[in-house]
Subunit: 256 residues, 4 copies
């Protein structure tokens, strides 16, 4: 069977006069766009432009909700309650959905501190899941492979997509190696490619202690804000195709 992988990337993170990222370039290499919803960046005008860009490039669209923190770009945790988080996520999913007209929203991928907090805080994880179930249980939640959050989401009945960061080292328990540790980021491009292929083909990865662990990948997160990022996207795409891995929309992978 042909192996498949989705490429996702954060998009529409410009704000007013402030242009951010190389959306027009990177859109050519991805299959899923996580579009900012106005809480950490993005505004109604950039949301419209970015939705149009995605549709014109046959890229599926996801909501990219965040804590409400423009100055901090959603990278600072806010000590919000369960229902505050749930309602913030519902609001943002609704806002982006209205720009899609009849085009269905494919997925939800929380941004920055909201994503990271869901990895370590069960209440946050559940509140996000609860919001998605509230709005539309068919939406795919993109979350970190090997995380407790993934288990929580599965047990709550959500459709989930396991996300990997191809250049990040992994602990034996499947969590990411903390950035404060040596070796947390893998800089050698060939190693990154090789590890990605192993994840996709075998559902395994070599952890930082040398052990081989289960590690599934439905989607790889690409960055869109540097020329190097675009090169990385091209490289991964080429190597994957050489290996018979097909870059495929998330919804086709998850709903097959």
């Amino acid at each position: 069977m042909t192996k498949r992988i989705d490429f996702n990337c954060d998009m529409g993170e410009s704000f007013g006069m402030h242009k951010l990222g190389m959306d027009e370039e990177v859109i050519k290499y991805i299959t899923s766009a996580n579009i900012a919803c106005g809480f950490h960046s993005g505004d109604p005008n950039w949301m419209k432009k970015t939705v149009d860009l995605a549709i014109a490039n046959n890229v599926e669209i996801g909501a990219h909700p965040s804590f409400h923190d423009l100055v901090g770009f959603g990278r600072r945790s806010i000590n919000a309650t369960y229902s505050e988080i749930k309602n913030d996520v519902i609001y943002q999913i609704g806002a982006i959905s209205a720009f899609l007209q009849n085009h269905p929203l494919q997925h939800v991928k929380p941004h920055g501190a909201l994503y990271n907090q869901a990895l370590i805080n069960e209440d946050t994880a559940k509140a996000i899941c609860d919001a998605i179930l509230y709005v539309n249980p068919n939406l795919i939640l993109v979350l970190l492979s090997g995380s407790k959050w993934a288990e929580i989401a599965k047990s709550m009945g959500l459709k989930i997509a396991l996300e990997v960061f191809a250049d990040r080292a992994v602990e034996p328990d499947g969590t990411l190696v903390s950035r404060s540790k040596k070796g947390s980021v893998i800089h050698d491009i060939d190693t990154v490619v090789e590890r990605s292929i192993k994840m996709i083909k075998d559902g395994k990865v070599e952890a930082i202690d040398g052990s081989i662990i289960e590690y599934e990948a439905d989607t790889i997160c690409l960055h869109g804000d540097t020329p190097g990022a675009v090169d990385m996207a091209k490289k991964l795409k080429n190597e994957f195709e050489n290996q018979g891995i097909k870059i495929t929309k998330l919804k086709e992978i998850i709903n097959e």
Copy 2:
């Protein structure tokens, strides 16, 4: 045939710690709630609470979009472009819709300065209409009876509901008498009731110069922020029922 009228009221205009309005009281007397969407007031938590309140009271829900101006409570015009207005309205309709789950959104009634600007600025009027057509052409747009905006909306193919302010005097051309003119507001409660009944039953009203003009009413705007407002709602409801006028949801009036 039984004559019918809808009662609409702005709701969910609290914000964070700041409670505003007597939503729990006035909800009992209305058929349509215009719920703030976070741009002039309201926040995701109040939106959820207010949607729940409306559904529990069998009251239909509309979006109440505004210019983005929390300090000014949406009462100050912002010199925004056509597409900025359109995108702001799309965003807000989407945000409130997500809280409704499978309950359909009934209508859209712009708030404050956005409503008033649409009465005198054709571009604003069209941008709002365009936004509604973009999101869902079945949504009913609530706008002022006798206004140029009503004509524009009709010509663009929207479903519209003609709104009247029962205590405001009307010019011979159907527009509201400016608040700066003497006699612009009618204070005598019996006159207010009598005029309302004439609008609903005959589709006519006596203008400020004494002439009788065509003046249709699909919905009456009630206020929800004073005890007096609740009394007015009760009074109108009683008198209307005595006259065989049925307080009816907007969607039943417009879609019949």
Copy 3:
């Protein structure tokens, strides 16, 4: 020697259309007003009004800076960096100061989550102190009696005022008893008065375990949002005067 105490109260926490608190009432009983600076509530118009109110009532003015979080009313911690907190506090002190013209700003009392975070996080405590030293080392920092933060501020050379919450129980180490514990709030008004007098006259309080500990009080925090709060203010004022305790402006207590 006559014993003295300052009464401080949060003020100017209205926002736009949203009126909050009974500032006009409570202003009559206090000596120091902590005025919101627009980050958790307050806006330039309310700041002006509240500064005028304080000056008209011969009440000294302090900045009441907060995390930037209108929806959460500054009651949610934000995981901000040292310099972000420092700059936020500098900004807010500057903003309120401009409304005072030649009237000197007396003090700074951080709001809500920023205050609470400074009690348990040394970096937050230092960042606030650093901001005050940056703007004006003569400003008095109001902070919790018995706290680690008080020690930090003293060691950094700040003028500090020790604040007590008369109705809260105290641990043997001088920190407040957590609200989750039984007995954390003292409801009996006479006990509250008696404890306050002991703090002011003897610099001691009975901790929750019955031991008597050192516990100084320069200022008592009053609430301004309920009729009961106004009664409490009156009661304390009367009882204190009976006991020969003078309600005195903070600057006279600290700078004597």
Copy 4:
């Protein structure tokens, strides 16, 4: 006598993650920096960085207050009242001032729509002037040469600096030729330089109809967001020095 001119430029218009402008480059060629105060862009962290940059480069600092409109970058008029505008300006002057410590604030130059509205609306013009008089009558207000606003400010007793846009054509009455008219922008660099020199040396300019009118210049507005802008700054500086015109801080020109 040596003729003198100030070079002013908008600075600190980055916001959070969003870097805008080439402040580090353009700072080398200017004498006065108009620093954004958080209402149209800028945030406390960028304000601190930009103040430090200006001081390190011996550039004087001004407040660059705006309508509160982040999405619109302060380029959209808001229909605010006199006291709302006044209080917004007071607030922003205070906020930037706190970052200056003992370094005195030199001037105030309103941004975007607030500046443009003051040119055509007497109330707006007065509200801004009133705010400056309230905070500090020694602050210099930078406004358009030849404008009604300049007359108003002078009659209210403000210190003013007359600003020119070297590449904009001028009507016989001294106002700028509307951008919608042909010839409103002068593209020939030599003509721009020549006109600037005439303004500075003779206090005159050739209007679009060929007539020579009085047109004083205390400061020239430079742009800081394009490489071309930096080249223009260098060119003007060189040519001015060749002509014996000294680039001089505004406060030395106005307060001499």
